[in-house]
């Protein structure tokens, strides 16, 4: 078993993913679980962005001295735009479900909800 070598940016993004998963697994408050899910999404987006980075290059807007050879990979950035919007949509959906749950059970604690339902 060898320790894999990964860059600092990957390490940061990966840590965010893991922190988020930890929150989803351990937290009992529904809102905290949803925040954790958002953290996972953020981590994934950062990971995607850093995969597209090329050392020493600039943003892929081709004006004033930035030619095709001086720009980073534009695809991951385009994908992340889409992924962010999808994350927002999921969060909005989840929050409205949480509002419904709160109206029905009067709590956001998942154990309480499970107990009230019996």
């Amino acid at each position: 078993m060898s320790v894999p070598h990964i860059g600092l940016y990957y390490f940061g993004a990966l840590s965010l993913v893991l922190v988020g998963i930890y929150g989803v697994l351990v937290k009992k408050n529904l809102l905290k679980i949803l925040i954790s899910l958002s953290i996972v999404e953020t981590g994934v987006n950062l990971l995607l962005i850093s995969v597209g980075y090329i050392t020493g290059r600039s943003a892929p807007i081709l004006s004033e001295g930035i030619g095709p050879k001086q720009a980073v990979d534009p695809i991951p950035q385009a994908l992340v735009l889409t992924a962010i919007v999808i994350g927002v949509a999921t969060t909005a959906m989840a929050l409205s479900v949480a509002i419904t749950l709160y109206e029905k059970y009067g709590t956001l604690n998942i154990e309480e909800i499970r107990r009230l339902r019996g």
Binding site: Y53, D73, I75, L81, V85, V97
Partner: protein, 238 residues
């Protein structure tokens, strides 16, 4: 006790997942040039789409299908939130009015925020940004009004049809492409009519990107304000 057990189980799971992911990532070294399709985009983006911002050209033109899906996802969210929080009669139930600073500030800033949002989505093919950030900025203007005034509500009769119309507009632009250039989402303005070829790098260029981003900006703005509205109003019982 239970929670200690749960926590340690969670940490063990995390270690396994983390190790597994790091193994995979180690095979994709950071900062190296691995572009394949990306290089093609960078080399041809100006000639083929008339946009200088490669990211927006990819988002709207090359991979326009994704963006259509993205718009749909946001539409689903606003529809879903509306469906779940639907009440026969709804009213704002905020109790305290915003402070004088907030109220005056929001009224003063409102037109400028709208203008800035519009600026962002119109210049999507030239600068970082585009329809989604622009629309989100516009929605912020309405959010501030909601925070400042207890009885403010967005004009529902205008916003909901506008949201649908903007979405239909996007699909229609795609269908016109199907009719003119025989491909769905074909950039007929740039590739068939060659409009704006002399303006590369200025506002009137970029083929259908500004048009689509305007539609997206309107749609996102109305959608996000609609979501805010659904979440902030509550049922009135009579």
């Amino acid at each position: 006790m239970v929670s200690v057990l749960k926590r340690s189980l969670a940490i063990i799971t995390l270690l396994i997942i983390g190790y597994w992911l790091a193994q995979g990532l180690a095979g994709v070294p950071f900062g190296q040039d691995r572009m394949l399709v990306g290089k093609y985009y960078l080399e041809n983006v100006k000639a083929q789409t008339g946009a200088v911002n490669a990211v927006t050209a990819i988002v709207v033109n090359y991979r326009g299908f994704d963006t259509l899906g993205e718009v749909t996802v946001l539409f689903i969210a606003s529809t879903g939130v509306g469906a779940l929080l639907w009440r026969r009669k709804k009213r704002r139930t905020a109790k305290t009015e915003g402070s004088v600073v907030l109220r005056t500030g929001s009224e003063l800033l409102f037109p400028f925020i709208l203008m800035f949002g519009t600026y962002i989505f119109i210049h999507g093919h030239l600068t970082p940004g585009g329809g989604f950030p622009g629309g989100a900025t516009i929605a912020t203007a309405f959010l501030i009004l909601y925070m400042a005034f207890v009885d403010y509500e967005i004009p529902h009769r205008l916003f909901e049809p506008l949201e649908g119309l903007a979405g239909m507009g996007y699909v229609l632009v795609g269908l016109i492409g199907l009719a003119i250039g025989s491909y769905f989402l074909f950039d007929w303005i740039w590739q068939t009519w060659h409009w704006g070829a002399a303006n590369l790098g200025r506002l009137f260029s970029g083929g259908f990107i500004p048009i689509i981003y305007t539609l997206i900006g309107l749609k996102v703005g109305t959608e996000l304000s609609g979501i805010v509205d659904s979440m902030l109003t509550e049922e009135v019982r009579e």
